[in-house]
């Protein structure tokens, strides 16, 4: 009897606690809110229109360019930028490097939210999203499809990321026992998560293997999967540097003082890792270029564009990372991180959108609605990220 009362009571407490936590906090009229709220509302309006009148009513997609900004940026670029979670969990949990423990929670949360929202973006882009459960249930398994694999990996990876993050949720709800149980699952989900990441990061590249006749030869290679995987490592590292730097400004009060100092040290460590992977990636690119004897392709505008990407936004930031690490210059490292991210965005968009159907007379260019929806996805993710970090112990060093 008493116990029943206690349970109802604690349930009442929990729901009251949840309602309290769901309420918005802090000032409303911040610059971020002023920009993001109209964008999100417009984006939602565009989506309603899109589901009534079809994809063609809001996008510039054509029969020749079936994948545009939504697939190219939200899904293919976004997933590369979310690579930090598997790299950091590898370093911390598999290799046992404690130095980076302080950023694990924020990075895993970022990964989890990125996949949730980019998975969501994929649904927006699907022509028949109500059939989206088909790859998961029933007799519609396209085992030999790269996209089938990616569908499954996205789902499983989100589950793995959620389990990795769940101790923080348990801590927030003051469920000590649950937290202890969930923490025991960490190493298993980390191993699973890294494996799935290797496969779907490279898998996103494998999506374009059969598009060989449509992609400019400077960007198509049978090794796209490996290139995508290697570049996702430094994309993740650069993203942690940029995102961490912004977080340390915006959420300054939430972050323990020791962390502020410790973070610089972490950034230099990440810079070293990024420099090495970028040099390796550049070496791969150069090797493929020389091996395929592509010298005569370099002379026109596409060749120049290729050099901008590979030298301007891979080799240069790689050297800047190395220089910044050696001379302990935070600023150079941070600029290098931003440049590396631009390089990743360029590369993914080049493969999936820009150099796709490069010979066409009329080239695809995204509509304003496609841009708005893309920003909507990013802003919505930032809103949810902000909600998490202001309520849960994401930045604390407890582990």
């Amino acid at each position: 009897m008493n116990r029943d009362v206690a349970i109802t009571d604690s349930f009442g407490n929990l729901s009251r606690f949840l309602i309290q936590e769901l309420k918005p906090r802090g000032p409303w009229l911040t610059p971020f809110n002023v920009i993001s709220i109209p964008v999100i509302l417009t984006g939602l309006g565009i989506l309603v229109y899109r589901f009534i009148h079809g994809l063609g009513s809001v996008t510039n997609l054509t029969q020749e360019t079936p994948w545009g900004l939504w697939m190219g940026f939200d899904v293919i670029t976004g997933v590369a930028l979310a690579g930090g979670a598997y790299v950091i969990t590898f370093v911390v949990y598999v290799m046992g490097v404690d130095k980076y423990h302080g950023i694990v929670r924020a990075t895993v949360l970022n990964g989890l939210l990125a996949y949730t929202f980019y998975g969501g973006a994929l649904l927006i882009d699907l022509g028949r999203p109500w059939n989206a459960p088909n790859p998961y249930i029933g007799n519609s398994f396209g085992f030999s499809s790269v996209l089938f694999l990616i569908c499954w990996h996205f789902l499983l990876y989100m589950v793995a990321e959620f389990v990795e993050f769940s101790p923080v949720i348990a801590e927030w709800l003051h469920l000590e026992k649950a937290k202890r149980v969930l923490k025991k699952l960490t190493i298993a989900t980390v191993v699973l998560g890294i494996t799935l990441s290797i496969l779907h990061q490279s898998g996103l590249g494998a999506l374009f293997l059969m598009a060989k006749p449509k992609i400019h030869p400077l960007w198509w290679s049978e090794f796209i999967p490996i290139l995508f995987f290697v570049s996702s490592i430094y994309a993740g590292l650069a993203m942690i540097i940029v995102e961490g730097t912004i977080s340390h400004r915006v959420f300054e009060k939430l972050i323990p003082a020791e962390h502020h100092h410790h973070f610089d040290d972490i950034v230099f460590g990440l810079a070293k890792g990024a420099a090495i992977t970028m040099i390796v990636y550049y070496f791969f690119k150069a090797l493929l270029f020389i091996h395929d004897k592509q010298w005569d392709l370099i002379v026109d505008g596409w060749g120049l564009w290729f050099l901008v990407e590979v030298i301007g936004f891979v080799l240069v930031p790689a050297l800047m990372f190395a220089f910044g690490f050696k001379h302990r210059s935070l600023n150079i490292v941070k600029i290098a991180a931003v440049m590396a991210l631009i390089g990743i965005i360029l590369n993914r968009l080049n493969v999936s959108v820009i150099a796709f159907n490069w010979y066409a007379d009329v080239h695809y260019f995204p509509s304003w609605q496609e841009y708005v929806v893309t920003f909507m996805v990013i802003f919505a993710e930032l809103w949810v990220f902000r909600w998490f970090v202001t309520r849960m112990p994401v930045f604390s060093s407890e582990h």
């Binding site: 059939n131 989206a132 996209l147 006749p213």
Partner: protein
């Protein structure tokens, strides 16, 4: 990893490798069973009866072949038209070429499809099944001939492309376009038979044809094969697609998946065991954590 774990992994990897053989099944099948259509462009008079028959058969927009002036430009198939006939001015006069899904014998679209909505039927024709399709358009990205067309202006879009009149074939009839062709420019039959006819015509009239059957080897062989009096790049065909069947491009990746799926966790757990063994954590590191905890509680 212990011995039991290793055995388990080996069995799983082995099992997947055996299952993986299915990817190659089409190569092993007797290709005599495959059907297709031979298009002899030297016989085509550009009457476009095939366009009309196709539209009527599939309840689509029927073109006004007399008045619409369609030959003024080179047209593509669309979500409203599964087949089009184009006119090309060449050194040997006007050449008319019918265009539609090529029905590759190892179809990239069917391999790309995550839900088997694009499906290669047993005798070759590639069909689309709406109840399975999620509308991802990966078939469009993968098709070397850009044949699947998407209804961008529909809330419930379909993928539209020639099905080689799959339903008619089931009933023992010929495809609508073949039945409608007045000059036998289109001939329906098994792949082997069509190739024999095509070769026979080249041997019999060596001056009338270029000695190449488009679709015999292109992208691993297609259901539609073409004869022509002029080189194929002059009548709107891509000649740079290669002889490799397109599913081959992703085969290595797909074969690597089970290896990675089982190999990498073993590798990671091994690394983890090594790292644990070599790491001796000094006491002092833990005191820092406790300090932070205390600070948090104070707040």
């Amino acid at each position: 990893m212990d011995r039991r774990g290793f055995l388990k992994t080996s069995v799983l990897v082995g099992g997947t490798a055996i299952a993986g053989k299915k990817l190659n099944a089409q190569e092993n099948q007797n290709s005599a069973e495959f059907v297709g259509i031979l298009v002899d462009t030297t016989r085509c008079i550009g009457c476009r009866a095939c366009e009309v028959a196709c539209a009527e058969e599939h309840d689509m927009f029927v073109p006004d072949v007399v008045n619409d002036g369609a030959f003024e430009q080179v047209r593509k198939t669309s979500e409203k038209q599964w087949t089009v006939v184009n006119k090309f001015e060449t050194e040997k006069g006007d050449v008319f070429v019918k265009k539609q899904c090529m029905h590759c014998y190892q179809a990239a679209c069917a391999i790309a499809c995550p839900t088997e909505a694009m499906k290669q039927t047993d005798h070759g024709p590639v069909i689309w099944r709406g109840n399975k399709c999620i509308g991802c358009r990966f078939c469009m990205v993968s098709c070397p001939f850009e044949m699947p067309k998407f209804e961008y202006d529909e809330w419930n879009p379909k993928l539209q492309k020639c099905t080689m009149c799959f339903e008619r074939l089931e009933e023992g009839q010929k495809p609508a376009c073949v039945s409608a062709c007045p000059t036998d420019a289109l001939m329906f039959g098994t792949r082997v038979k069509n190739l024999e006819i095509a070769r026979h015509r080249i041997y019999s009239y060596p001056d009338q044809y270029v000695h190449h059957i488009y679709g015999e080897h292109e992208v691993g062989g297609t259901g539609y094969i073409y004869l022509s009096a002029v080189p194929f790049d002059q009548i709107g065909f891509r000649t740079d697609l290669g002889k490799k069947a397109y599913p081959e491009y992703t085969k290595e990746f797909l074969y690597a998946v089970p290896m990675i799926l089982f190999g990498v966790p073993a590798f990671l757990l091994g690394l983890n065991a090594l790292a644990d063994a070599s790491r001796s954590v000094p006491e002092s590191e833990f005191t820092l954590e406790f300090d932070v905890d205390k600070e948090e509680k104070k707040r």
